[in-house]
Symmetry: C2
Subunit: 193 residues, 2 copies
């Protein structure tokens, strides 16, 4: 397997045991896509037909609310992203996905993914396991909205993704935390570590 796939393979094998042979099934099914900072991967109105694995860089998921863009998600390094509501329903996406930093993506089309799902039980299992994990993580975030202050959410984010702060503008982080940029700035000032 080519070096470019190392992170992806590592990610996959966390969920399902793929042998060298199992992995061959993706030959010819994936594509590489580089995005410059701020370039769009999935636009509003597009029907999302690709899933991306971030081999390098950060993507964000955002949408327009009251005329301004709100970032709902920032992808961690080496993880999957797509506009899932659109990808699943094949309807136009209200979410936009774009590159926060220069990105190297490994992408797979819906068509090819469905082929893998239908022809290799291990792929379908992988899909389920990844979705389970994403759901649990999503619930954890809801938990934090319910019980934690913005300050604690911010501290935990820094602890979990310490490198993120270097590459991601505070505006996006504020949105992710569910507060305004100015509130985040105020909050940062009062933290003594």
């Amino acid at each position: 397997m080519p070096d470019q796939l190392n992170y992806l393979i590592e990610f996959i094998c966390k969920y399902v045991d793929f042998t060298e042979n199992d992995l061959k099934s993706i030959d010819g099914k994936i594509d590489f896509l580089n995005l410059k900072k701020n370039q769009v991967f999935i636009n509003q109105g597009d029907i999302a037909d690709r899933i991306a694995f971030t081999n390098k860089g950060y993507l964000r998921v955002y949408y327009f609310f009251d005329g301004e863009e709100i970032t709902r998600d920032i992808t961690p390094l080496h993880s999957f992203a797509t506009a899932l509501p659109s990808f699943i329903s094949k309807k136009p996406s209200y979410e936009i996905i774009s590159a926060i930093t220069d990105c190297e993506l490994i992408t797979i089309s819906r068509e090819n993914l469905e082929f893998l799902y239908s022809n290799y039980p291990k792929w379908e299992r992988l899909g389920r396991r990844i979705m389970e994990e994403m759901f649990v993580e999503s619930q954890r975030r809801i938990y934090s909205f319910i019980t934690e202050t913005a300050e604690i959410r911010y501290k935990k984010l820094l602890k979990q993704y310490p490198e993120m702060i270097h590459d991601v503008p505070l505006k996006y982080i504020a949105d992710f935390l569910g507060i305004k940029l100015q509130s985040l700035s105020r909050l940062r000032k009062t933290i003594d570590w």
Copy 2:
């Protein structure tokens, strides 16, 4: 198929086309469990080994924070629930699941579910599809925490689940919305419909 399974079958078929024959695979794999109000389905410290489908009644998912219980989730009628982090990891659950009202549950053990997953591709596919949908719903809720006021969240909840208000104490609904009971009460007073 027995009448008791109608809601479950309807739910399943929203995601994957199961024929009468496909459905036979659950013969002997599921159990029925009735819970009285406030009875516990999965306790803190248990290793969750069952998933429940709520044939009747409401469950809630909660945990202890600062010595008091916080309700993170209220299951809609006719949906699945388990303490997923524990179910997936086989580690003791910090989440507790109990009955808000008298409940009729259809349950399946992890063992039997894994059997279905491994032996019937349609079941694995169903698992993936349900997880996808639950993830999307979870993201929708995060969206609402980020962009909407508590009042709007409350109004939308009432609109989406109008019957829920009759059976579910406001304390749980307040937790679900991410606000205190007193704040919900204040907010209810000011709404003019």
